[in-house]
Structures are given as C-alpha cells and as structure tokens.
C-alpha cells in the first residue's frame, strides 16, 4: 500500500496477527489434525473453508484479464499488476491453509510421485500450480516491462483459471454422499463465487492501494453484475435443494439456515457479505470509496459463506443412526473450531494482509503504471 499513513498501522496489525497466530501454525505443523475440532463424520472444517475463501480471492486476476482481453476495457490495464500480485498472495495463503489441514503435510510430494488422475484433488493440485506458475511469470513480465509476455500470459491463464475454479467445484460436486455438495450447479456456483470474491478484492485494492477511480468504478459495475448472478445461482441451489425431493439435502440446508452456526450465514454472508455491499454497489456506483468498502465487505463475508458451504453439509448422517452407534467426540456430527484453528486462520489472514501492505514497497513496479501504458494514464 503506497500510502504509508494507511499502511503502517495495517502492517502493525498484520504483524500482531502473525505473532498471535503462530501458535496455530505450530499446532498444525507439529500435532497436525489432533488439536482440531474435526471428527470422522465432519472431517472438513475451518481449514477447508479458509482454503476456499483464498482460492476465490485469487480469481481477481482472472476477472481483470477477461475484462482486458475479452471485453477490451483498457482502463483496467493500470491495475493489471496489482491484480496479479493480489492473485499470487491469495494463492499462497490458500496453499498454506490447505497444506496445514492435512494429516501428513510432509507427504505432499506424493501428489507428484504417485498421483491418481481419477481424483479431482490431483487436478486441483495441477491447476493450482499452473495458475501459480503463470502468475509468477506474469508478475515477472509486468515487473520487467515485457508487454508481449504479459499479454500472452494474461490470455493463456484465462482457460487455465476457469479449469482451476471449475475443478474446485467439481471436487465437491461428485461427492454424492453429501447431498448439499453434489450436483452440477456447484461447479457453476464455485466459478461465480470465485470471480465475485476475486473482483471484490481487486476493486478494494484498486482504490485503497492505487486510488484508481476509473478502474474502481468499472469493477464496481462488474462486481454488481457478478453479485446478482451469484445470488441467482444461490437461490437456485437453495430452492432446488428444498424442493428437489432429497430429504438429506433439505435437512442439510435446514441446518445451514437455522442451525447453531446459522447466525453467521445470515449476519456475515447474507448481511455483511451480500446485502450491504449490494446497497453500496448500487447507491455508490460512481463513488470509488463506497465501492471499495463494498469490496471489503464481500471479502469479509465470504468466509461465512465458505464455512456455511463446508460444515452444515456434513451435519446429516451418512446412514440413519450412524452418529449414535459409537460414542466418541470424534464420531459426532457436531463441529466447533478450536482455538488453534482460529489462530491459524488469523495467521493466514494476517499473512495475506501483510502481503498486500508490503507489496507496493517490495515490488513497486507491479503497482505503478508501466511505460507502455502512459498514453492511457489520466
């Protein structure tokens, strides 16, 4: 963040978060999944939700590339470097979040040595790394002023990114044992969710980091469009879930909307993450500051959305009575994240914040307008 008046306090906040969250990282590295609140019937929790959140935030670069090279909105060239950097930071955070969620993170090399290509997780790994490599190369191209390479990589990564975000949806959609995860709508929803949260992040950063009024306003309209599409698909998901004739799906949705953690869905996802930003996006459509705040609200609210997608879906027993058959805290349908999980979440968030704040200082050329863009400068 170029503005030191704004960035220094944020850097202190990020530093404190990194310090406080260290215990969560230590626990995850040393004790793996033992100190988590997970169990065998709810094996995925906050860690997976965190991964999905940052995975979505990394789609900002995709949105900018589509608008630049598919729709020809040259005004967004000014924030291309910023979007590239934001994508990289989000990808790194997503990678750390999911790696530390593994029971044996030290065996991750197995993805390369003994992969099973029938598993969507392998394709997720392949596309994750493909996106990471493309963005690293693109960051280098923007940094070194190589316009041709930057354009080529921007265009090349569009299909790769779609495959990546689609694969993440596919990853869940084939899990027919959990009704709330399965079905083709999940793939579309995942891509839309990623583009919405990614666009929202870049929109906020475009204003707070570079004070790009024009780009922020354009992204405001794009985010509004994506938010409306997202809402339509979300309504389809809920509506078909309740009326589609699958009792387990209806039960999972009931738990999601009225269960113990439903307050976070309504307050953070529906309220902070959708309703408030929609109002800001509509009423402040030509004012960059409200738009940037709308972007931040969407980003903040998305953790609740990801959590609501991951956890309540697992609250329905695979077989009736299975959760009562053997009494053990790890064999129930209840899940409450532990302090260690929250601290790890805080650490990853702080890492992302620190990355965003120090970015303009470490890589100033990514944030300034390259020479070839000068004619477009205001």
């Amino acid at each position: 963040m170029a503005n030191t008046k704004r960035s220094n306090p944020l850097l202190i906040v990020a530093g404190l978060g990194l310090l406080a969250g260290l215990y969560g990282v230590f626990e995850a590295l040393v004790y793996r999944t033992e100190p988590t609140g997970l169990g065998s019937y709810v094996p995925w929790g906050l860690g997976v939700a965190l991964y999905l959140l940052f995975l979505g935030l990394s789609a900002g670069g995709l949105v900018i590339s589509i608008m630049l090279y598919v729709f020809g909105m040259k005004e967004l060239d000014r924030i291309s470097g910023l979007a590239t950097y934001a994508t990289l930071v989000a990808e790194v955070c997503a990678g750390i979040a999911i790696a530390l969620d593994l029971g044996h993170w030290e065996r991750m090399y197995r993805f390369a040595f003994t992969p099973s290509f029938s598993s969507p997780m392998v394709w997720m790994f392949v596309f994750f790394n493909a996106v990471l490599v493309i963005y690293l190369l693109k960051a280098w191209a923007v940094h070194s002023g190589n316009k041709g390479a930057s354009k080529f990589l921007s265009i090349a990564h569009i299909p790769v990114s779609f495959l990546f975000y689609g694969t993440n949806g596919y990853f869940f959609s084939i899990l027919t044992s959990h009704a709330a995860w399965s079905g083709p709508v999940i793939v579309v929803w995942f891509v839309l969710a990623a583009m919405l949260s990614g666009a929202a992040l870049v929109m906020a950063l475009a204003w707070f980091c570079q004070e790009e009024k024009e780009a922020t306003v354009i992204l405001g309209k794009t985010t509004l469009f994506l938010a409306i599409c997202f809402l339509i698909v979300e309504w389809l998901y809920v509506s078909t879930g309740f009326r589609g004739g699958r009792p387990d799906m209806a039960l999972a949705l009931t738990h999601m909307l009225t269960g113990k953690a439903s307050w976070s869905v309504w307050l953070f996802h529906a309220g902070l993450g959708l309703a408030l930003p929609l109002l800001l996006l509509i009423w402040g459509r030509n004012a960059p500051a409200p738009l940037a705040w709308a972007g931040l609200c969407i980003v903040a609210g998305f953790l609740a959305y990801r959590y609501a997608f991951v956890v309540p879906a697992q609250s329905v027993p695979m077989l009736p009575g299975l959760d009562k058959a053997w009494q053990d805290p790890r064999l129930t349908l209840a899940y409450v994240p532990t302090l260690g999980e929250w601290l790890l979440t805080l650490w990853v968030f702080s890492l992302g914040l620190a990355g965003v704040v120090v970015g303009p200082r470490l890589f100033p050329r990514l944030f300034s307008r390259p020479a070839w863009l000068q004619p477009l400068a205001r």
């Binding site: 004790y31 793996r32 999944t33 033992e34 988590t36 997970l38 169990g39 065998s40 019937y41 094996p43 995925w44 969620d101 593994l102 029971g103 044996h104 993170w105 065996r107 991750m108 197995r110 993805f111 003994t114 992969p115 099973s116 029938s118 598993s119 969507p120 997780m121 392998v122 790994f125 084939i174 899990l175 027919t176 044992s177 959990h178 995860w181 697992q314 027993p317 695979m318 077989l319 009736p320 009575g321 299975l322 009562k324 058959a325 053997w326 053990d328 805290p329 790890r330 064999l331």
Partner: protein, 250 residues
C-alpha cells in the same frame, strides 16, 4: 434334533471353507460378507472385538452397530444394523484418493497404504456409508493417572493395549504415537492379517448370534454364497452404484 436346526456351528463350516479358499489361486478368491439382521441381537460384540483386534484408538471404529426403533407402542421393534466397510465393487473412496494410497486388492477388499496416505480425508467424505475414520491421535490412557508398578498407572495400561503395534495388513507398525496410522484414513479390511493365517475376521468369530457370515463368493458351495442367494437379501444405498460386497438379510 429338529431338521430345521443347523447340524454344525456355522463358524466351523466357515473355517473349513476359509481353509479351502486359501488353497485356491488367490486371484480367484473374492471375500464377501452377509449379515443376517434377524440373528443380530445388538450386543456390539463384533464392534468391540474389531476395536480390540485392530488396536483402534478412541474415535476410530470399523464396525459400529446402528440401532433403529421401528413402529409405535405397543407395536415397537428394534433393529440392529452392523456397518462394516462395504468393500464396494465400485468404491468412491478409491477414485478420489489423490495419491493412490487406497485400492481394491485382488480379493476385492479395499485396503490402505498408511505410509502413502496424506491425510486429506477426501475418502471419508466420498464414502456413502461413513465407513472410513480418520485417526486423530487419540489415546484411551491419556486421562489415566501415572503410578508406579506393573499393574497400575498409565504406562502399564498403555503397554497392555494401545502402545502395542497394531497387526493391520500384516505389517509391524511402530508403537502408537510414532507416525502412521496417526493422521491417516482407516477402515475395515476384513482382518487381512487374520485371513492370511487362516482365521476368520474378528467380527465373524465374535458374533454370538452367528449373524455375520463370511467367505469366498466364488465358491458355489460356501455358506456365504447360500446367504447371498436368499430372497431376503438387500444392500445399503444401492442407488449410489457402489455395488457393495456386504449384503444384509432382512
């Protein structure tokens, strides 16, 4: 003796059939299980025997027995349904494993390589029967007080059970607390280590109602094959297309 009563204990017959199966080409043997719900009395002995045999820690269970109450008073019945791994013909857990740590062996049993499993728990979410557990490094003796002596105290208790290496897959695992299977996915494997030495799975031998029948599906004279031909046979969640190799007799 009434002709409707069995002339020999089904366990004796199953043991004889197991010995016969072990003399055959291993590639032509297919292990399957049938569970007669009319004979299950809900004693949970199979679940406990399995935990004991495989030295399972807290939170890991391969064969829980689900209980279901059917009807309204005074016409109420209770049904017990043991749930081992279904050893599916088309196992979703195998297809989703990213590192080929789990597969179906030649006898049709889905097995896990604990040294390869990365602990992503994707297989847990993919199994429609909830038949896989994750080992979260629990210890029964964690809350046991330390005390000197050979009989009392945490150390003595742990040495007697959970610090001892699990016999799973016939491999000499290190004492518990040192790497795998902690952090791994775990599941029922029809007691592969017992089959290898001519013993029936522990859930079969411990079933006091003789409700669990085990054997080679490719042996036309086997007891399990007889059971599989019963009109009472049903399988769980057949609509999922998993083709379970464990069937139930209603």
């Amino acid at each position: 003796m009434s002709p409707s009563l069995p002339s020999e204990d089904p366990l004796v017959r199953m043991h004889r059939e197991l010995a016969r199966a072990l003399t055959r080409d291993p590639d032509k043997v297919k292990w399957v299980m049938a569970i007669d719900l009319a004979r299950c009395i809900g004693c949970h002995a199979c679940a406990v025997a399995c935990v004991s045999e495989n030295k399972l820690p807290p939170g890991v269970v391969y064969r829980p027995v689900m209980e279901e109450e059917i009807g309204v008073y005074p016409n109420v019945r209770r049904r017990f349904l043991p749930r081992p791994c279904m050893q599916c013909e088309n196992p979703p857990c195998v297809a989703v494993c990213p590192v080929t740590a789990t597969w179906k062996n030649k006898q049709g049993v889905t097995v896990i390589d604990y040294d390869r499993c990365i602990g992503c728990r994707y297989c847990l979410t993919a199994c429609p029967y909830g038949a896989r557990c994750s080992d979260f490094a629990g210890f029964y003796t964690n809350a046991t007080a330390e005390a000197d002596g050979l009989i009392l105290g945490r150390k003595a208790a742990a040495t007697g059970y959970e610090d001892a290496a699990a016999p799973e897959y016939g491999k000499a695992w290190p004492p518990r607390g040192h790497g795998s299977p902690i952090g791994n996915a775990r599941k029922c494997h029809f007691c592969q280590h017992r089959l290898a030495v001519g013993q029936l799975p522990s859930c079969v031998t411990s079933c006091i109602g003789r409700a669990t029948v085990f054997g080679d599906a490719n042996d036309p004279a086997s007891y399990v094959r007889e059971c599989m031909g019963s009109p009472r046979v049903f399988r769980l969640k057949e609509e999922q297309g998993t083709q379970p190799n464990v069937c139930y007799l209603a």
